[in-house]
Symmetry: C2
Subunit: 472 residues, 2 copies
Amino acid sequence: MMDLKEFRANAHRLADWMADYLETLEQRRVSPETRPGDVRGALPATPPAEAEPFDRVMADFERVVLPGMTHWDHPNFYAYFPGDHSPASILAEMLTAAMGAQCMSWNTSPAATETEQAMMEWLRQMVGLPDTFTGVLQDTASSATLVAMLEARERATNFRFAKEGAAAPGADKLVVYGSREAHSSIDKAVRLAGLGEGRLRKLPTDERFSLRVDELAEAMRSDRNEGMIPCAVVATVGTTSSTGVDDVAAIAKLCREHGAWLHVDAAYAGSTAILPELRPHFRGWEEADSIVFNPHKWLFAQFDCSAYFVKDPGHLIATCGANPEYLKWSADDQVANFRDWGIPLGRRFRALKLWFVIRDFGVEGLRKVLREHIRLAGVVRELVEEHPDFEVLAPSPFGLVCFRYRPARMAADDPKVDELNRELLARVNASGKALLTHTTLKGKYAIRWSIGSLQVQERHVRATWELVQRSV
Amino acid sequence: MMDLKEFRANAHRLADWMADYLETLEQRRVSPETRPGDVRGALPATPPAEAEPFDRVMADFERVVLPGMTHWDHPNFYAYFPGDHSPASILAEMLTAAMGAQCMSWNTSPAATETEQAMMEWLRQMVGLPDTFTGVLQDTASSATLVAMLEARERATNFRFAKEGAAAPGADKLVVYGSREAHSSIDKAVRLAGLGEGRLRKLPTDERFSLRVDELAEAMRSDRNEGMIPCAVVATVGTTSSTGVDDVAAIAKLCREHGAWLHVDAAYAGSTAILPELRPHFRGWEEADSIVFNPHKWLFAQFDCSAYFVKDPGHLIATCGANPEYLKWSADDQVANFRDWGIPLGRRFRALKLWFVIRDFGVEGLRKVLREHIRLAGVVRELVEEHPDFEVLAPSPFGLVCFRYRPARMAADDPKVDELNRELLARVNASGKALLTHTTLKGKYAIRWSIGSLQVQERHVRATWELVQRSV
């Protein structure tokens, strides 16, 4: 094992490696040419019995691992949604790693708990939520959404589902609603929470990919008439396929009427609520019971860092809490023990990177970067719209543009268009010069161009557009 | 926002900070003197509008955060179970942070997925599990145990619980078993999975804090006779309170008889299965359906890094998988997409630190450290046993000794003994020179002395023993 003197030298070596990596990102392929099995095949099948020098480990890292990585902060990473980091976030992670603190309870690291409280308060103010909300960090929006569904389940059954399971009165009557564009994590959460996939109503969307509120009203009424219990509605601000925006205010009204839990999934778009000009998209989210958005997506505090806000922390704790003797502490009644605010017991010190990032950018600095990304998405949109052989397939209120190639000679419903676009995307990505992903929108294959890297500039976008045109 | 030139300089500064931190750990208090609210009160109530220089951020970190941290790798950290890190692990986390990759699917970072596959294979061999097991990393044992309970639920109901919820046939008949010493995460998992707390049978243990197999046999038989369905048994190797060891082989036999899922919770002790001389404690775990142990506890790959092994990955994927259009990739049928092997969608590159740690120590090096920790636990045990006013309260097969102060003049059942120990522990911890925690064992207040820091030496243990004696 290396000693601390060697550690110091290696840490300096990696400090340079990190800076070099960020400085040279643009020169790399965005995604690797790796074929399935390449990396595993290059790693020994058995662990080494004896210690190996760090030089050899690092050389193998550069030879085997690095060429097999997708570079999420490459300026031409336009895939999925951004998974951002930033210099300040990386520095915070260095400190987090060095301290190695396990932050499950207040007393296992008081400063971690209280920094998290302070950062959730900062975030709450930044996105303009009222002080009726209290926040906690989760690893991912998927986990937060599962927690929300569990909270909804327990509110609807007065904690009898948790106590009695399927035998609880009403347990077999609970229904959850969301749009067909809602994220797959909703389906997964409903399944894992034991509500039953068949009890998730995925309702149609309008031409802007927003949940049709009339359909929701009708579904809730009809379920209610049949003796079912509308348990929860998931409203999405910024759906994954196309960043559609549900009418949260109208949905909130229906939730109040039926006593259903309102969970707002703003995993991607939530960060943009720091921009006053985009706040209208979030109208009504202050009526929610729970809200999730991911600073790790578009607020430069790297994965994992998902912000979960609730109106009633007591209900959250009653749903997720546990208090065995070996975790008790004398000051438990005066502090927050975040182990009781989610699924895992152990917790990393995630708030540190938020603190570093918000101070390194300043709120105005964060706004500036987000506005530039949104401006660049506007550039993409214009380029696509101006070209006779390409078309935009959805509104683009944030940083994502969904489009496809459709030569003027081909009809909108020609099934060959999908195939052309599948091939186009494969060629663009195979070049290693950009990475985009796809979805289907109203049955049409759509290419998703998502802007979010801290390093992206207009020249990258324009060069990628040239690449796309060349690749048809 | 700092530019990359500033980032490089700051990264070097933090490289020194990290090395200084590790070198001076021993000079710090183990746990802080922080009172509830101290840290939060020292942080501004609102976020800064403008960017702040990193010097100021770092100064605040050292002034506000650092004095409020518990130092988990302090040589005199004897609390809970270890939450270890090591130089190689920290270096790996630096690279992970710099790349910021999101490793949900094979194609979002092929090398991350395949390194994880290779490391789970190394771990499997290291702990002596047969190749009928396949592993995946989870964040915590709590999450892994929840996944295990969900897998059990779905096997028992042929996936109808997931599909139909509480209305599924048999959904209200499922029973889960574990000992009274089983971890609180079992209770939590049973509750969250919708099985119902009332359906968890926490059975008595023997004088060694092992699940009484006769009681389990009787409970399963009796439930079966009453039309209930024995769904899962959680066997623990190394319970949290006292590191009790259940007879996994005998429990496995009962599970086979009743078709129940066998989950082995070896969160803490699992790492010791790399020691051939401790393998007898794990006899029968190869019969399990699922096993969890935490390299982040006692294998120097820092939190979060929890190893979950299953016999049937197909069943795991059927329980936790989701495959929406926007995540599909051309090579999906040839690769592992670990997003489908647990609860969260997004995933950090956790395998890198395992790779670095195993190579930096070598398997023999890891064995050496674990053996030294276990030897030191033996020293503690001897010191306690030799003292007329102290007594050991449980066997100590691994690195934990449970003991209490009981002056020779006081009877074993004198209720004042608990109070004396509560005060003793408070004095020891308030000194800042060591940190221990407590539990209750068979109704008695017990102090837990858990050995696990990479920096702990016999002199630390002996000095802490002096401190304990002085603090009565």
